[in-house]
């Protein structure tokens, strides 16, 4: 499955059912409260039953993923970050070693070819930090491959269209 997860509405519409587009800004998603319920009470399910419970299964099932997010302090801004924090039911509490480093065991999460379109007024220093962050995410979110594209806000639609066109080829 191909998934586009955006932190804002876009004019772009999928032409068919070959991929799913989710505008996170249109959903009701609360902050993760760090209760560990999704690991130790209702494993694989968040105890907060809002719109996030529709999103993280889609993240898990996707093998091709496009995240579209504003960048703040070298990381994802609130809308995307909130969803990523709420996606921990896709992992187990248990720990595994990846290249000798400790990480959580993944549940049924497909390995991903991920693209992140990072937009906003992003300095070179912020870009460097964001690249370190996504390298960490790759280990914790099962990215087999990833690519980061930077865009100013005014050209974001073009950047998204260009990326989705590549999926059609």
């Amino acid at each position: 499955m191909k998934l586009i997860l955006s932190d804002r509405p876009l004019k772009f519409k999928p032409e068919n059912d070959s991929f799913l587009f989710i505008d996170l800004s249109a959903l009701n998603i609360a902050n993760c409260v760090g209760c560990f319920g999704c690991w130790t009470k209702t494993p694989g399910k968040c105890v907060i039953r809002d719109d996030a419970v529709k999103v993280y299964p889609a993240i898990a099932k996707s093998d091709t993923l496009l995240y579209i997010s504003r960048i703040k302090y070298g990381g994802y801004d609130t809308v995307m970050k909130k969803m990523l924090e709420r996606a921990i039911p896709v992992q187990q509490a248990f720990i595994r070693l990846v290249d000798g480093e400790t990480h959580h065991v993944q549940r049924d999460v497909k390995p991903k070819n991920a693209t992140i379109i990072a937009y906003g007024d992003i300095s070179d220093e912020e870009k460097g930090l964001f690249e370190k962050l996504v390298a960490r995410n790759a280990l914790n979110m099962n990215f087999e491959k990833y690519n980061i594209i930077y865009s100013v806000e005014s050209l974001l639609e073009d950047a998204v269209n260009k990326e989705v066109e590549k999926w059609k080829k």
Partner: protein, 201 residues
Amino acid sequence: MEKIMILNGSPRAVRSNSRRYAEIFSKKSKCKTEYFNILKTNHHNLCSKMAEFRDVLLVFPLYADGIPVTLLDFLKTLELNPPKSKPVVSVLINCGFLEHGQNDTAVCMIKLFCKKNGYRFGSVLKIGSGEAILDSPFKILVKGKIKKLASSICNSRYRALHTTMPIPAKVFVKAAEKYWVNYGAKNGVTKEEMRTMKIEE
């Protein structure tokens, strides 16, 4: 005597390990401390209160490889509502992984905030295995490092510190399994149930 403002940026502030770390810090600090949870409703109060302090200590857990949204949203408010005098910002961060270095990206985010907004960055203590270390024999290591952190901030001799459980990664994996199985058992959930591969099914 200078005062240190402690801000807990954990989403589960009241029941958080960050609160426990903050309590140890307050006990070890020779400077007076005042503790606040960051809540959705108190951002503006905290921003104006901050002017009363020479130092601020942000205490928070690593969330999805970065700073938790609770803290991110507060920093965004602080950016728009800076205090009259800007304190030195220090960090006490913990992650559940063994490697304290997994906290690095989050620390860099705070440094970037400081640079962009004209705050001096002070000390940092990065804690690995932070979910369980306070309930292990290695608690003494954390207390020692927090004492050094408190001293560095109080004396304005800022420094970078870190600690974790001094055990091999494979042993940590086993210890973490025991910790989480016990955690699940308190909720009547078995190890096999916790190991389910299913998501929302």
